[in-house]
Symmetry: C2
Subunit: 325 residues, 2 copies
């Protein structure tokens, strides 16, 4: 079992590498080779019996994708991409990396003439307002960002390349990943993680939107679980609609904060300061709230049962099991 | 008013050129220049006061699209494309012409830094079975052909380029065009026109599917009307969802044949021979039947009221007003 991961230096990529090397198997077979690709060198864990190669570069450059799949990886996790805000700020970069890079990878596999499982990370950004309260699996995708447009286009390519037998593709539309480890960032969604992460280490956090905002979250641990499940699922059971909206925990910000109180106590909650930010609110108020994710659940994709579990996953995976508050 | 038409040598392209030169105006302005592009030389009508240029080539070739929009046409009708069967048979050709050619044209306009109306002919092939009896405007697009995939991707680009202010795009999803002039062809949909066109000139026609098959049609005349309307509509009224499912006449084959009897008599009807063809039936049975097309109707797109009118349009436009039966 040879596995290729693009975007292997990113937060989810690193966790996927750790999970795969920890398990040692994928699809019931021993992992014998790992190809880790990113624009910067990914960390390559030293694991006995696993041949690990680190590749760097831009997939959209001529020949780059062909070199990457020359070793014929059995499973390709394609996580690489420019994030939403950057794709909106830099039109050319977003289309080059998110569309041309993905298409180059898909075409390299097509032209190699072998048949791997390809797991593509899409996003709920393929959907655009106005939304129903709960977004069904067959809601029509009308993205309102360049990032969402690029993801939708790649979903369409994934389905067509799968239909034509070039590879066996599964697209997974990730909800917001929470709690993100690391430092606060400027992403409009950053506060969803910040109001949990910062108080857990005894630091203040700012909440820029009303506590009534409802949003769907999955932990990084669940996101990695989705990727593994997408690699292992029987492609025949999926049918021609290859991209699946992932499950998650739909909660209001108030419910996030209540869960924080239950898990870490009232001192953590008191570290959250409401500081309305019109600019962030204008972005967030157009975001989807809840998803049905029936198909994904039926196909065995599992998210946390409640937001308490999302917080506990963070404490276990990032804080050694103990909040430092 | 300068107008560019790609695919100008095709059936709809020729009729659009004839309609525009006949009217002399578009969006209330005199047409002073016509740029006609196709892979083969389009016929350029000699019209006093209209500067006409014929361009040939492949839009996906480097520099071709930039040369075409250098004259800054106020309205761009982008009709060029590889048809469905050919896009399925020749993967590379379909993606190169239908996706790369369209993207090259969109990018050439983006990089020119001016703001034309762009009318893009999409297709109901963006939808894939299973279907409801009547397909609503917000039905999710899940194409089951490479052609439909390419059209969906171009719709997504059209919406994003419009949202970002690179041009003012309108996509129109054409239903089956009927009655197509010319000779019988091998398209799976060919019989919908053949069972009308051939009997009208006293020739036999074969019907390969059950008479209960329901399908939506618009005449070539209506298709040209849709294009003109798409050029003239106020873009502000369309909102972010830039591609519209066009109206048409939804009838069963039996109703098509009844209309033929009313318009041309029982002798015409007797020239139709039922000759079931499993291969054609297997394709046609997965096609959509009826569309709501609410948005398009509200925005002033008009199709024939019934199939009798579709037949009469053919007799008027292609037979000098008189069936030769």
């Amino acid at each position: 079992m040879r596995v290729l991961i693009t975007g292997a230096a990113g937060m989810i990529g690193r966790k996927l590498v750790a999970r795969l090397t920890g398990a040692g198997t994928l699809r019931g077979q021993a992992i014998t080779a790992l190809d880790l690709h990113d624009i910067v060198p990914a960390h390559a864990p030293a694991v006995a019996g696993v041949e690990t190669a680190v590749h760097t570069g831009d997939l959209s450059e001529a020949g780059a994708a062909a070199r990457l799949v020359a070793s014929r990886p059995d499973v390709v996790f394609h996580l690489a991409g420019i994030v939403s805000g950057e794709a909106e700020a830099n039109f050319d970069l977003g289309y080059r990396v998110n569309l041309d890079g993905t298409r180059a990878l898909f075409d390299a596999i097509r032209l190699s003439g072998y048949f791997p499982r390809v797991v593509f990370t899409s996003s709920i950004a393929v959907f655009g307002a106005p939304f129903p309260d709960v977004i069904p699996d067959d809601f029509h995708p009308t993205p309102l960002t360049s990032y969402g447009t690029q993801k939708l286009i790649c979903e369409a390519l994934l389905a067509d390349y799968t239909r034509r037998g070039f590879f066996d593709g599964i697209g997974i539309r990730l909800p917001t990943i929470c709690v993100r480890p690391g430092k606060p960032n400027k992403a409009a969604s950053g506060f969803f993680s910040g109001i949990i992460r910062e108080p857990l280490k005894g630091e203040a956090a700012v909440l820029p939107v009303p506590r009534s905002v409802v949003h769907t979250h999955a932990s990084p641990r669940s996101a990695v679980g989705f990727l593994i499940r997408a690699a292992e699922i029987d492609g025949q059971t999926v049918g021609p609609r290859r991209s699946l909206t992932m499950p998650g925990v739909a909660v209001s910000v108030a419910q996030q904060i209540e869960a924080l109180g239950r898990v870490a106590g009232s001192k953590a909650v008191e570290l959250i300061r409401d500081e309305p930010d019109e600019a962030i609110w204008n972005i967030v108020k157009n975001w989807p709230m809840r998803f049905e994710a029936h198909r994904a659940r039926e196909l065995g994709f599992v998210a946390e049962a409640d937001f308490d579990a999302v917080i506990r996953a963070y404490i276990e995976d990032e804080m050694g099991g103990q909040a430092t508050l």
